[in-house]
């Protein structure tokens, strides 16, 4: 029988695949995805950095749980680090010291874990900026933007609960700050604090509670979000930059098998390798230098990890406002910063929905914008980053003061003013830069590329030779859309019935003019303009 012969001849791999296909339907899955096309651009690997550092964090984190004791029971340290011998420390601190000094390779894994966490958050930040500035968040990808945004926010809190676990002097100070911030919440602040800490600060519960949040609750949610994020990337197919042959209806690139399997798989090892080498060479979070936490001890230069720095900045530069009314205290000096902290994040998180409302654009977008071609969006993003960095300066005001010999008062006042002024200036400057770049593109299309070659004409005039662009370049530079701003409908409709535009509609038209109106985009060259210039005389 030919069928049995065929079965006998099938290689082992195929037989395993047959077995799995009969139960999981993997052939249909592979048909759609094995040769899936991914476009290539260096900025598309930023998200990969995040994914891989997340995997590294999970791998190393599991290893660390084998040795870490999440307990605040006090013991006397007797480990091999001499300067702390005989000091009363918590079990959490003791076991972290044990991992760092007595477990072979423990310090390496701890440092890889912490470095990977920093890379993870920095990677998410930059990846988010890439998606933002290229408009990759537009329909149909708004939900995936939200998933990514949530991953960033949860990553911040996972990082915070993680570096608080060793119960060292630096992280304990951070936890104390958290408690003080919670106390400032009107009406329920003291209750939340008592419930979170299981009583008064510091109590004996916060490390075990942070532990289950850090290793189970938050990473569990994040793992689900990562999977959903990736499924949507595959389902929507990746965005691509405009170029010859690239349209809204296709995706141009190389197939998953073998090119991206090798590139992406290899990239995991590159990221892991670099982080391992960094962990070998650069010490991070040396808790033995800080010592165990005691509520009445502190070190100078206390700083959170970088991603919490902007919240720290808000708290440091806020004036100490307190209002006492009818036996109650409104601690505005602390409460306002902890309200602004999420608002700063939410501003960027909901931007895609604001933009789609303003523009009224309901179409799918798979071709990316060059940032210059969306000046208002680019300017908003740049202003947001500027705000973030202003606050980061505020968060490290003591370090700026000591390193650059500045007065801490002037830095604080600088940040207070810059908080309001710098984003506005950056917005205006970025918009102008974008428009300048648009003008340059326009000149390039109409007059060609400046070659730098100077030619002398027979009558003695010197001119620079401009080289006409290729069809590919002409198309790439003119492929973007230039939408027209929304218009208010006439106050009186065609039947003479008065129709009043609501305040929302008026705002929308105003914003739309800001996005696409005059002064917000340079009209791109038309075919007529091009032909008029290239057809004959005056071609410089």
């Amino acid at each position: 029988m030919s069928t049995t012969e065929q079965r006998r001849k099938a290689p082992a791999g195929e037989r395993v695949a047959d077995w799995a296909d009969g139960r999981l339907g993997i052939y249909s899955l592979a048909k759609a995805n094995m040769r899936k096309i991914f476009p290539d651009h260096w900025s598309f690997m930023l998200g990969e950095v995040c994914l891989y550092s997340f995997l590294i964090i999970i791998l190393t984190g599991v290893y660390l749980t084998l040795f870490f004791h999440p307990s605040m029971e006090e013991v006397v340290y007797h480990g091999s680090y001499v300067p702390l011998q005989g000091v009363r420390v918590s079990e959490a601190f003791n076991s972290t010291m044990h991992i760092s000094f007595d477990v072979r390779g423990g310090l390496l894994i701890r440092q890889i874990h912490h470095w990977a966490a920093l890379v993870f958050l920095a990677g998410m930040f930059v990846h988010m900026m890439r998606v933002f500035f290229t408009g990759a968040f537009r329909k149909p990808r708004e939900i995936n933007w939200l998933f990514g945004f949530l991953l960033f926010v949860l990553g911040v809190f996972t990082g915070f609960t993680g570096y608080s676990l060793p119960d060292d002097l630096l992280s304990g100070t951070g936890v104390r700050f958290t408690e003080g911030a919670i106390l400032s919440v009107p009406v329920v602040g003291t209750y939340i604090s008592m419930f979170l800490f299981g009583g008064e600060f510091p109590g004996a519960d916060i490390v075990p509670r942070f532990y289950s949040i850090h290793i189970l609750l938050l990473p569990g949610i994040m793992l689900g979000l990562v999977v959903a994020h990736l499924i949507l990337v595959i389902y929507h197919k990746h965005t691509q930059f405009p170029g010859p042959g690239r349209t809204e209806k296709n995706v141009v690139g190389m197939p998953l098998l073998p090119v991206y399997m090798a590139k992406a798989g290899g990239f995991f090892f590159l990221v892991f390798g670099v982080i391992a080498a960094v962990a070998a060479l650069a010490t991070i979070n040396p808790i033995w230098d800080f010592g165990p936490y005691r509520p009445d001890h502190v070190s100078t230069g206390a700083q959170p990890d970088w991603y919490m720095g902007f919240a720290e900045g808000l708290v440091r530069v806020m004036p100490g406002w307190e209002i006492n009314v009818a036996g109650h205290t409104l601690v505005l000096g602390v409460f306002i910063p902890i309200v602004i902290f999420p608002l700063v994040l939410i501003a960027i998180g909901i931007y895609p929905f604001i933009e789609s409302w303003v523009t009224g654009d309901k179409r799918e977008h798979h071709l990316l914008d060059r940032p210059r071609n969306a000046p208002t969006r680019t300017a908003f993003g740049a202003a947001w980053i500027a705000e973030y960095f202003v606050l980061l300066i505020g968060g490290g005001n003591d370090l700026w003061a000591t390193h650059f010999h500045l007065s801490i008062n002037s830095i604080t006042w600088f940040v207070r003013i810059a908080f309001f002024v710098v984003p506005v200036l950056v917005f205006i400057a970025t918009k102008r830069v974008c428009l300048g770049l648009q003008r340059r593109d326009r000149d390039k299309v109409l007059h060609g590329r400046e070659t730098g070659i100077i030619k002398r004409l027979p009558h003695g005039e010197f001119i620079e030779v401009h080289e006409p662009l290729s069809q590919d370049q002409l198309h790439t530079l003119t492929a973007h859309e230039q939408p027209r701003p929304l218009e208010l409908e006439p106050e009186v409709d065609e039947n003479g019935v008065a129709r009043k535009a609501g305040a929302g509609q008026k705002l929308r038209v105003k914003l739309s003019r800001g996005f696409y109106g005059e002064g917000s985009q340079i009209p791109k060259p038309t075919a007529e303009e091009y032909q008029e210039i290239t057809s004959g005389h005056g071609h410089h």
């Binding site: 104390r176 590159l270 960094v278 100490g320 604080t412």
Partner: protein, 351 residues
């Protein structure tokens, strides 16, 4: 190794330059010219270059294997407590250094090999795949809506209001049990944040010497930390009590004390203030002798100890609480009561 004897016809310059499926219309100079032709890499046309790439990839993979062997050797051979000097980093753990570097090399070489393989030897021909709209066609949508209407009608949820309303009630109420379960997370605040271990007659214990303080122990310009007598580091609640009771003591010249109550509550210019910052609770630890200012290192709130602990800079909202002290008949400093107001950060019920 040169590429001199490559057959002419396989050189990129002689390959067709036409675009695939290009439609360049005469009217539109900006029309999409279609995918550009594939440009061959040296490895595509020269087998020797391809062989070189193969050797590079194999070399990287071999290096990775050697690095893993190095990792195992380092793990087994290097003592965990050995330190070495590495320029320019300084003294670091030999084990961490060698494990990290060998692991880093082992992983990096796998990655570099795979990427080099993909970039030089795997096909780099770009192909186009179609996209389809994400949203369903009107027929599919109509079918789904009809199915849903059928299902909803068959459930009779809309018709039998009693079922619907009681079900919503039950579903809305059961999460309340969860909210109540969370009540066990901690005690009610009560007056916990208002009281510390200080009370009338408790002597001030120097935290360095663990001995009761006498006025003559406190010099002008020095900063001394103290805790109430009867507290011990071994106490199970030591951490949460010291978080409120921590005290700092400085000696000023009585004529330099600007605040009248501060002067009344001092002994020969010795004043005792809470060490816990009124901003978010960090312990204050920096003292400037000349100006009598103390600074919290966390957020730089600055307090003037010669003027009732007034805030002179930074985000703190109210002065540091002062502890009234006196000298007892044995000549030791002792408290005349608890702090008159809650120490540390402000909260809603503080008032």
């Amino acid at each position: 190794m040169s590429s001199q004897d490559i057959p002419e016809e396989s050189l990129p310059s002689t390959q067709g330059a036409a675009h695939q499926g290009a439609v360049v219309s005469g009217e539109d100079p900006f029309a999409d010219p279609g995918l550009p032709p594939h440009e061959h890499r040296i490895q595509d046309i020269d087998e020797r270059a391809a062989k070189r790439s193969e050797r590079v990839v194999a070399f990287l993979f071999t290096l990775s294997m050697l690095a893993t062997v190095g990792f195992i050797v380092a793990y087994l051979a290097i003592p965990v407590d050995k330190n070495i000097y590495v320029f320019p980093i300084g003294h670091i753990s030999a084990l961490n250094f060698s494990l990290g570097l060998s692991l880093g090399v082992a992983l990096f070489c796998i990655g570099a090999g795979a990427v080099h393989w993909a970039r030089t030897l795997m096909s780099d021909v770009e192909v186009a795949d179609e996209r389809h709209p994400i949203e369903a066609s009107p027929e599919v949508k109509a079918k789904v809506l009809a199915d849903f209407a059928d299902g909803a009608r068959e459930s009779a949820l809309g018709r039998r209001k009693l079922i619907r309303n009681t079900m919503f009630g039950a579903l809305a109420m059961f999460p309340l049990s969860g909210v109540f379960l969370l009540g066990g997370l901690g005690p009610k605040p009560g007056t916990k944040l208002r009281k510390t271990k200080w009370s009338a007659g408790k002597m001030l214990i120097n935290q360095n010497t663990m001995q009761p303080l006498r006025p003559e122990d406190v010099q002008v310009g020095s900063l001394t930390f103290a805790m109430p007598e009867g507290m011990s580091e071994e106490d199970h609640d030591f951490q949460q009590e010291i978080a409120k009771a921590a005290l700092m003591i400085v000696r000023l010249r009585p004529e330099n004390i600007k605040d009248k109550r501060e002067l009344d509550w001092s002994v020969d210019g010795i004043v005792a203030f809470s060490k816990i910052c009124t901003h978010v609770g960090c312990p204050i630890s920096l003292y400037e002798q000349q100006t009598h200012h103390v600074l919290c290192p966390c957020h730089q709130s600055t307090f003037d100890l010669s003027d009732g602990g007034r805030v002179i800079f930074g985000p703190a909202g109210h002065p540091l609480p002062q502890l009234q002290i006196k000298v007892n008949d044995k000549g030791y400093l002792e408290a005349m009561g608890d702090f008159p107001e809650p120490v540390g950060p402000a909260f809603w019920e503080r008032g």
